[in-house]
Structure formats: structure tokens, C-alpha cells
Amino acid sequence: MLEYLLTLLVSGLVTGSVYTVTALGLTMVYGILNLMNFAHGEVFMVGAYVGYFLFAVFGVSYPIAILGAIAGAAATGLLIEAIVFRPLRNAPQLSPLIASLGVSIFLQNLALLIWSPTPRMFNTPYVDQVVHMVIISMSMQRVIVFVVCVVLIVALYFVVQSTAIGKAMRAVALDAEAAALMGIDSRKVIMATFAIGSGLAGVAGALVGPILILSPFMGIPIILKAFAVVIMGGFGSIQGTVLAGFILGITESFGVLIIPTAFIDTIAFILLIATLLVRPTGLFAERIEENV
């Protein structure tokens, strides 16, 4: 029994780390542009596929494949920003939201067309290596996912708090006009934010790809949960997102004990709606949103 519970805990931590990293990318973009990018899930999917092709088809080593995935995802994100969000910068709020939904559908089905629904196994050597930790065991891949995600989270926190680009991002997020007056090129900052945010989603995809099976629609559950995490954690707050991400991962994992497997995905929404009803600004609201 203890074995089982520990396994659930560990599994929840791994899933939680993935949710957190993806959600961080989402919240960064929201912080800067005040919009939720529905297509973020597809950026995750692109990362997974790029990583797969580089590794399984072109024979590149896994770490390099991950870097490639980051590049691919960042490029996708920048493309979306340039083609869809920039023209709609001054449009009413509804427009970029609907447009990003359109991008999401477009990318999913484009991927479906190009890469066909054949299930593909992203077989890194780590998937079959089993790691034994005292009484439980899991694949090395899961360990890598967790470690890399935690490293990224810490790194992101450091970047946002202490580096120049991080400070610029926070400045533009807080007050774009003032930031411009201070000589910050908000266009470059926005692009950088999109690139980093999408890159994060791409890494998550390349890491988790070997555990899941790749499909053009693999971004859908991820984006919905990322949304839930962002809202639960409170927009703009890294600590909140991290906390919410792990809470969701662990709750889903232990959920199998009480809820039939079919409803596990609903946990995220129930938590989301509960948050919206009880404490709409989230766990750690850094900004008072005029939306709530």
C-alpha cells in the first residue's frame, strides 16, 4: 500500500511539474499582452513532434532534440504573435481570443494532415531504463522530466527577478507606456516573452512526448489544464502558478483512489470553477484584474 501511495505521489509530482512549466509559459504571455493564447497547447504539441522527428527520424541525440524542440516551439510562437496577435493589438478583447482559438484549430488539423493520426512512439533510451528508488520504481524518462522542469522553473524565476530582460518584461507588463518612456522597446520585449513562453511549452512537449503517445490533439488536455493552473495560481504570479501546478498534478494522481478514471480530467475544471467562485484572483494575485 505504501508503495502504491508513494508511486502516486511521485507520479503527481512529475505531472505537476509539466503542468507548471506549460502554465508558466501561458502566464508570461498573459502578463505582457493581457490575452490568453488558446494555441499554447499546440505549441506544446509542436515541441513534442519536433523533438520526435529530430530524435527518431534524424537520429539526433536526445538533448539536442530537446533544444531543437525549443527552437521549433519558439519559432511557432513568434509566428503566431506576428501573424495573429500583432494585427489585433488594438482590437476589442474578444477578437484575439477568438483568433487564438482559430489558430489552435488550424494547427491541430494541419498537424493531423501532415503527420497523420498514426500513433508514434517517441522512444528515447531513457523510457526503457528503470530507476529504482527504495521501494518504488519508474522510468528514467520520468525522472528527467521532473528534474528538467524544476531546473527550468528555478531558472525562469531567476531570469524574471534579476536579469535585465526579466525586469523589462515586468515593466512592460505593469505599464507599457511608462516602460516605453524609459526606453524599453516593448515590441522586442513582447517577442522575447512569446519566444520564452513558447519555448517552455516546447520543452514540456519534448520531455513528455516519450511518456504519452504523440497525437496532433495532444495539446488539448494540456491547454485546458494550463488555463486552470494559471487561474488558480493567480495571473502573473510565478509562485502561485508553481503551487497550483503541483496541487493539480498531485490531486489528479490521488484522484484515482476516489473518482472513477473517466472523471479524472474533470478535476481540473472543478478546481478551476471552485477557484473562480471562491477566490477569483487566485492563490497569489499579483495584480488586481479588472476582469474579476
Binding site: V84, L94, S95, L97, A99, F106, N109, L224, A262
Partner: protein, 338 residues
């Protein structure tokens, strides 16, 4: 000037409406094929569904994404009432609409304190929960195995026609036609009433509306309830028309099709939404070979419309009309000057 223009436009609208109605009535004899008639029947259902979304999104400016779920609520409620309790379709239809409206109201109560993206995500979440219930409450809905053998509406006696059975596609077509016309009329009445004004005011500037004393929450909730009722009616008709329903028809991404119809027709425009609904119902069926590209096209269209044609087809037509009008005025002025 304005009064004259208005009546010019209304004459055109009335003329076009009457003409369309006549074509619609004659359609079974023009088409001669049940298969194509069915496409138009489906268009009718999609029109009702899209008009419902138009009320909450087009009139009130709320991106409520639970629409497909409410459509499903109408469909399953109606099918189950008829099949499990032996109720007549003619009672099940309003009952389903009412129940869907109730669910829509509940979703609204929970979500309407939020705005913008939060509202979109919250309603999407509700839509997904509804979908999961359809999928997993197998005892009730049979889940993914689909609920089939749904009977058509019960035969009713009609004056002059005797007892009419709805087994035949033609009969269903006329039933749906009647429902569609009613939906259009009701929608138009709402739009040009005080309710409509309030909703449009909320869309333009909610804070201003509040300041002017409009009870915005109440009106937004009303919009939700109305749109859900429309979705419920559409759902009930759909279930008894296609005779087989499954959860996958009511997934979040099915809302996208209605969304596309409303957005490309023109947020708030009734005529635009009607035209767009018919187009997007017929096009995929007539271009079956291009089925693979359908969703790609939809996604791209949403983006293109939002960037280049945010007021949709109706907006584009209005611009042309206005442009034409300006040309006319200029020519008159020129003639006058000359």
C-alpha cells in the same frame, strides 16, 4: 434622410425575406432528392443554434463557450424523455428547451461575475463538464456507444392535412422550417426591443451601461438563458431528426463551428448569421472530398475574419451599402451643382 434610408433598407429586407421563404417552402419540389433536402433541414437547425449564440455573443459581447454542451443538453433531454418515459415529442421539445435554459442559467450564475477571458474559460470548463457527463454517465446516455433509435416526432392532426406523420424527411423539413422561421422572428423581436438595446449597450460599454442604471448582471443572465433555450430547441429537433446522438457531437470544439457562423456572419447581425449558417452547413457536405481540409479551413477562417473582417459578412455588406449610398449622394450633389 435617415428615415428614408431605413425604409429603403427595410423594404429590401422584407422583399428578400419573402422571396427566401417562398424558395424554402418550394424546396422539396425543387430539389427532388431527400439527401439534399436533409442538408437544408440541417441548415435550419444550425441557424437556430447560431442565432442562440448570436444573442449571447453578438448582442451582448460575451464569449460563452458552453454552447455545444447546451445543444447536447437539449438533444439528450428530449431523446431520453421520449424514449424512457413515453412522453410525446411535442411536450419533450419545450421541456428540453426549458431544461437547457435552466442549465444555461446555472452556468451563467457561476460564470457571469467574470469577464473576458475568464468568462470564456469558465464557460468552456462547464461545457467540458457537461460533455464528460454525456460521455461517462453510460447508464443514462449510453456514452460513446451512441443513443440511437430515437423516434421521430409523434404524428399530429393538422387542419386540412389529416394526421401527419414525421417519418418522412419532407415532414421533418417543414417542421424545422417552421421552427427556424419562429426563431428568426423571435430573435429579430429581441434585437429591436428594449432588451436588445440593453444587451447591445452592455456589449458596447458595460461600465457605462451600469452607470446608466441598467441591471447588467440580470440582462447578461437573461442573454445566457435565452441563448440556452435556443440551443435546447435546436438540440431537441436535432435528436429527433438524425435519430442518433453521441457525446462527440457536443464537444467544446463543436462550438467552434457555431462560433464561425456567428463571427463570419457578423456579430449581432441576424441576416448575416443565417447566410453563414447555411453556407457552413452546405459547404462541407458538398465538398466531401475536401473533408480533410475542413477544420484547417475553419481555423484559418476564424483568424482571417477576426483580422480583416471583424464585422463579418454583414459588416462587409453594410460597408458596401454605405459606400454605394455615398456614391449616390455624391452624384446627386454633382447633378445638383451642375
Amino acid at each position: 434622410m435617415k428615415a428614408a434610408r431605413l425604409s429603403g433598407a427595410s423594404v429590401a429586407v422584407v422583399a428578400v425575406s419573402v422571396a427566401s421563404l417562398m424558395v424554402a417552402l418550394a424546396l422539396p419540389w425543387i430539389l427532388k432528392s431527400d439527401y439534399y433536402l436533409q442538408l437544408f433541414a440541417l441548415s435550419g437547425i444550425n441557424i437556430i443554434l447560431a442565432l442562440g449564440l448570436n444573442i449571447v455573443l453578438g448582442f451582448t459581447g460575451l464569449l460563452a463557450l458552453a454552447h455545444a454542451g447546451l445543444f447536447g443538453v437539449g438533444a439528450y433531454t428530449s431523446a431520453l424523455l421520449v424514449m424512457r418515459t413515453g412522453l410525446s415529442f411535442w411536450i419533450a421539445l419545450p421541456a428540453s428547451a426549458a431544461f437547457a435554459a435552466l442549465v444555461g442559467g446555472l452556468v451563467g450564475m457561476c460564470s457571469l461575475r467574470l469577464k473576458g477571458h475568464y468568462l470564456a474559460i469558465a464557460t468552456a470548463g462547464f461545457g467540458i463538464i457537461i460533455y464528460q457527463i454525456f460521455l461517462n454517465w453510460i447508464g443514462l446516455t449510453k456514452g460513446a456507444a451512441a443513443l440511437g433509435n430515437i423516434p421521430p416526432p409523434n404524428p399530429i392532426p393538422l387542419p386540412g392535412l389529416g394526421v401527419v406523420s414525421f417519418e418522412a424527411p419532407v415532414a421533418m423539413y417543414f417542421l424545422i422550417l417552421v421552427a427556424t422561421v419562429l426563431a428568426i422572428v423571435i430573435c429579430a423581436r429581441i434585437k429591436h426591443s428594449r432588451i436588445g438595446d440593453a444587451l447591445l449597450g452592455i456589449r458596447e460599454d458595460e461600465t457605462a451601461a451600469e452607470v446608466m442604471g441598467v441591471p447588467t448582471f440580470r440582462y447578461k443572465l437573461l442573454a445566457f438563458v435565452l441563448s440556452a433555450a435556443f440551443a435546447g430547441v435546436a438540440g431537441s429537433l436535432y435528436a429527433h431528426y438524425t435519430r442518433i446522438i453521441a457525446p462527440e457531437m457536443f464537444h467544446l470544439f463543436e462550438t467552434v463551428t457555431s462560433l464561425l457562423m456567428v463571427v463570419s456572419g457578423g456579430l449581432g447581425s441576424i441576416v448575416g448569421v443565417i447566410v453563414a449558417s447555411i453556407f457552413f452547413t452546405l459547404a462541407p457536405e458538398l465538398m466531401r472530398e475536401l473533408q480533410d481540409y475542413r477544420m484547417i479551413a475553419y481555423g484559418a477562417l476564424l483568424v482571417i475574419v477576426m483580422i480583416f473582417l471583424p464585422d463579418g459578412l454583414a459588416g462587409a455588406l453594410r460597408q458596401i451599402w454605405r459606400y454605394g449610398g455615398t456614391l449616390l449622394v455624391r452624384r446627386e450633389a454633382a447633378d445638383g451643382a451642375a
